[in-house]
Subunit: 186 residues, 2 copies
């Protein structure tokens, strides 16, 4: 089966990782799949990089490089990383498509106020207290996608509903081999 890059972008707490893990759980062993999680990649490939625009972009490019390597060997790569700059996400799409790899941009769209209210990791509290510099949405920009392949308003529907829509998209692109991909019973 063809590989592809499913690039989940959104602010911290928007649900990127939950979406990636939900897709992985539903697909199970039905096809080759890999999650490239921003936090893991920071540790494995980008120690020493900070959160300036330049460093964030270098980090995103490294993720894109690894994602393309995997995707061209048939892996469905789920990237879950803030990737705040539209230009750099677009660059990742161009590079993927230039190599014949399908690239889907998925916008995990949770309004900042909602992410702050939830604050699952307690990071917003610290960022608002000025303890974390360069924090996306607080002291660093986030440029939302203007034409994502899928726009998930993660504060307005349960995770299962977002997953249904994401799996339906993947099935429509022939990325899944089972027909009931849109069923939440999977």
């Amino acid at each position: 089966m063809n590989g592809a890059i499913v690039w989940l972008t959104g602010i911290s707490g928007s649900g990127k990782t939950a979406l990636a893990e939900g897709v992985a759980e539903r697909i199970g062993s039905a096809r080759a799949l890999e999650i490239l999680d921003g936090d893991v990649i920071r540790k494995e490939l980008s120690s020493g990089l900070g959160f300036s625009r330049e460093d964030r972009n270098i980090n995103v490019r490294r993720i894109g490089f690894v994602a393309r390597l995997l995707a061209r060997h048939g892996v469905l790569v789920l990237v879950a990383t803030i990737s705040p700059y539209a230009e750099t996400r677009d660059e990742m799409r161009r590079l993927a498509e230039a190599g014949g790899t399908l690239f889907l941009e998925i916008f995990a769209d949770r309004p900042l106020a909602s992410a702050i209210a939830l604050d699952v990791k307690g990071l917003y509290k610290r960022a608002l207290a000025g303890e974390i510099p360069h924090f996306t949405g607080i002291s660093d920009p986030y440029e939302p996608p203007t034409h994502p392949d899928l726009w998930l308003k993660t504060d307005q529907e349960p995770l299962t509903a977002s997953l249904d829509r994401l799996l339906t998209l993947l099935a429509s692109k022939q990325l899944l081999q089972f027909s009931s991909a849109h069923s939440s019973q999977l």
Copy 2:
């Protein structure tokens, strides 16, 4: 077919890249294969890193991380990088094997005098003139493997002979699906 990591180590000019490319050429499209070349990885994943022991080790660990990702999706990963420190190569083997991935260490062994005499890239001349600090073999250490899975004395046999022996090793590990893997006619 199972993936694996074939880790080619040796000084600059020892023939690592030629061996990796030779294997890729002979295997063709018979199986999933990827070359992770040290020079490419430096650019794609390790810009900003230098050549201190610590930085070299970080670079090697990044290569190992990507190699393991690919190998667990069935890719035969050919790593061609100096990777001068035995301890770090051993660490890469341990991490691969811990994840159930076969790891083969291949020593591209060309004596320093021979590499200097050839000096294909003109780097030794510059290193000997003191223009390149931290140059392996000249101003930086190289720790040869003590028990490599294959020891190729690349100054004592033609590339085709080294390739024959490397392909034979891969075939013996069930990493190739064709039976005449050891034939230089491939």
